[in-house]
Amino acid sequence: MGAPLVLLLVLFLVYPVGQLLLLSVYGDNGFTLAPYRQLFASSVYLDVLLITLKISLATTLVCVVAGYPIAYLISVVGKERKATLLFWVLLSFWTSFLVRAFAWIVLLGRNGVINKLLISLGIISSPASLLYNFGSVLVGMVNALLPLAVLTMLSVMENIDRTLPRAAATLGARPGMAFWKIYFPLSLPGVTAAGIMVFVTAIGFFIVPALLGGRRETMITQLIIDQVQQTMNWGFAGAISVLLLVVVLVVFAAYDRLLGLSTMTGASAPRNAAPSRLSGPFTKAGDALLTLLGAISDRIILLLPSRRRDRNPDQAGMGLQAFVWTMLLIISAPTILMIPLSFGTGGLNWPPQGFTLHWYETVLNSPVWTQAMLRSLLVGIGTGLLAMLIGTPAAFLLVRSDIRGKAAWLAFILSPIVVPRMIIAVGLFYVFAQMGLVGSAVGLVLGHTVVAVPYVVMTMMAVLRNYDTRLDHAAQSLGAGPIATLRYVTFPILGAGMMSSFLFAFATSFDELTIALFATGGLNATLPKQFWDEVTLQVSPAIAAVSTCLFVFMGLLIFVAERLRRRAAAR
């Protein structure tokens, strides 16, 4: 059942990436190390690597620290407020990276909201240049990856038993101590998983540094794009890819040594294994640190007015709520501010002036845009279907049967997430060129399926783990054959899970730029590619109109997906 998936990954992941890596040591004149000599000849490329690591590390830190309180609040509030909070996180998560980055260009521009606000408050007298520096890149990166950090941590926090901190309180632990000694260690797997997901994604980013950064914020993936698009230097692109891949693999290896990779796939690591890996003085030091943090927190709480201290333990603090809503506002507001600008006659300057549908007409009357929309829808649906068709049987196989080397298979299936997208994209471009698939919808669907299928497998595995197989046995004992069992019992119950993994694959493809960047162009372009071409050329209100359309479309999609999920849960 897993054969189609293995075939897909071998043909469109292993082979292309292998080709690319091979190109770095095998030129027209046989074996060569020339690309590597070029790479280390000057400090230029190493500097880019350092900058990449610096930006990624800073992004990771901010995302984890700011995301923790958000995930915490979502995990403790009541059902209805949870749905509201989650909606805003999901909306941001699903809004295209491009749309969000573009929104920040407008927001931070010379005539953008922030400059206008600062001037009207009298803090500055003339517009400050807020764009194209480390700060603007960091803001954009955090905006892009904060939702991912929140959702990753949330999945762990939701499984923490709420009575444990309460038990700690009855045993004499003050709130600070109960948090740092009990809740925090239990949430740590979520924190590290979020950290590595954000870090690895950040390393492979190029949209944000390209749109919001200056020359000094060039990241390593941008070098690869340059090599392929401008100089067609495959060997050198391959060498940079190897460098990038090595960095990512080192990070993963370190993570695995420390915590075990299995914590990432949802199956929690054996509890007794974790401490033994971090045994000895390390644990002692960590324990002492947590005790210290607890004691300090409790001192601080004691300084608060006593009325605040004695508040109902069931209620989240006002400070926490204010922080979370501020963060959600910061990550959602830029995109929402696009909406009035897209209807304005005053260009992208704040405040918006007048009302016009001109920009929407421009977009709809332009064949490049309409073609791109159609193309994206088509490729998205194709990807969703293909990923489901290939991923679901593999998930069944991994959950239901006892194949040997399950962990290795899982690692292989998840490898499209681990390998930086840029490397896959360049490799596919090279292979597609040989096969004549460049610019074709088929090539795009195949490429997108490679990167979407791990999400389908993970979602379906989670769904299947929660599925009670006794229902199948019951159906069979009642006289249903294997096909009838699937049709009348298994699929109807798994329907919601399948729908959500289809939507996940669709959305992944719909927002995919890296593969589309090389494999499409002109009238073949997908929506993100067309967006990218336009936005790197000029920043126009027409793009604000497209952003608004995309934003509304994604909002509707989440709303529908959520309704489906709830209906399934209510059954």
């Binding site: 632990a173 003050r174 007794n272």
Partner: protein
């Protein structure tokens, strides 16, 4: 050993319009084992959370040894809680779990180690110190939860359905264990359960709750033999309830007329005041319903079902008098006695001392 008294005065908790606990007062003596018994939603867990400081009351006061702790946070109350799901910390070894409350109280390391070992001895599990909670069975986890609670010698221990997740045999064993520990330590214990048998076997006193208020408070014998309401009679053990009207009250005894069969009879009061002419219920416990061959007795009926549950044989009987509910009689199972047959006709009777009058609240 340390032990404290607990006084609850007009304690009240509402969630929106829902009254989880109506204003309630309750005194628990030093060293007493008191059980809060009641169906789910009766307010017993709310009461426990309020005492522990895990929820805040809307009104009323809580005093421990005459000190007002109503507004003290949970960590400052010196109360131990054994949670329903044990709430052992999964990331700590058993040893660290038990030592946790001692650490929070800044007990010196050597002393903490000694007391942890001692607590493990008390629950007969000294060999599991280095393990993690999920490596233990449910019964063992239960004992560790108990050890973690007694190790810091809290003045009062609260237990929230601590045996709910265990199977019957283990539950019986743990009941004895908890009783033993209570005897040895002399701690005041407030115990929550919905299992009336558990409440009867373990408690000094039972506080039966219903719909957010106390229905009756007393010794197990009080509640069982002198229920104040039909609800109590029904909740604790099986009971046969017959309608009657009071004719005359003389001291503890009452002359009554059984309504359905219009027969004069005698009953004893349940401690409350009755007035002549008042409609009441008369409760006869199954083991006090005397069964004989047809003829004589106060009632007659036919057997509809026979159930032998080990030591007891239960007979379900449909009375011949119209309007009477199905009755149940129970007596020790004897081997070799003539078997009962379904449809067999019997006479039923009882001693006046076993017929208890209860105000008719109507159910």
């Amino acid at each position: 050993m340390v032990s404290s008294s607990l006084r609850i005065h007009e304690l009240c908790k509402r969630y929106g319009d829902f009254v989880a606990l109506a204003p309630t007062s309750l005194d628990v003596a030093k060293g007493e084992f008191l059980t809060l018994l009641g169906p789910s939603g009766s307010g017993k867990t709310t009461m426990l959370s309020l005492i522990a400081g895990l929820a805040h009351p809307d009104e009323g006061r809580i005093l421990i040894d005459d000190t007002d702790v109503t507004h003290s946070p949970a960590y400052a109350r010196d109360i131990g809680v054994v949670f329903q799901n044990y709430a052992l910390f999964p990331h700590m070894t058993i040893e660290d779990n038990i030592a946790f409350p001692l650490k929070m109280r800044k007990v010196a390391d050597a002393e903490a180690r000694r007391r942890t070992a001692e607590a493990l001895e008390t629950v007969h599990l000294p060999h599991v110190a280095k393990r993690y909670p999920r490596e233990l069975s449910g019964g063992q986890q239960q004992r560790i939860a108990l050890a973690r609670c007694i190790v810091y010698r809290p003045a009062i221990i609260l237990m929230d359905e601590p045996l709910g997740a265990l199977d019957k045999k283990l539950r019986d064993q743990m009941q004895l264990e908890i009783k033993r520990i209570h005897r040895e330590l002399g701690t005041t214990i407030v115990y929550v359960t919905h299992d009336q048998e558990e409440a009867m076997t373990m408690s000094d006193r039972i506080c039966l709750m219903n719909a957010g208020a106390i229905e009756q408070l007393g010794t197990p014998q009080d509640l069982y033999f002198r229920p104040r309401s039909v609800f109590v009679a029904d909740f604790l053990g099986e009971s046969n309830l017959l309608s009657a009207i009071v004719r005359r009250v003389d001291g503890e005894g009452l002359d009554i007329v059984l309504t359905e069969q219009a027969a004069a009879s005698r009953a004893v009061g349940n401690g409350s005041r009755f007035a002549a002419g008042e409609p009441i219920k008369v409760m006869v416990r199954p083991q006090n319903l005397v069964v004989a061959e047809a003829g004589g007795g106060q009632l007659s009926g036919r057997i509809t079902d026979v159930m032998i549950s080990g030591s007891l044989t239960r007979l379900y009987i449909a009375p011949e008098t119209v309007g009477l509910p199905q009755l149940v009689a129970a007596h020790p199972t004897r081997s070799g006695s003539a078997p009962y047959e379904i449809g067999q006709r019997l006479s039923l009777g009882w001693h006046a001392a076993d017929a208890v009058a209860i105000h008719d609240g109507g159910i």
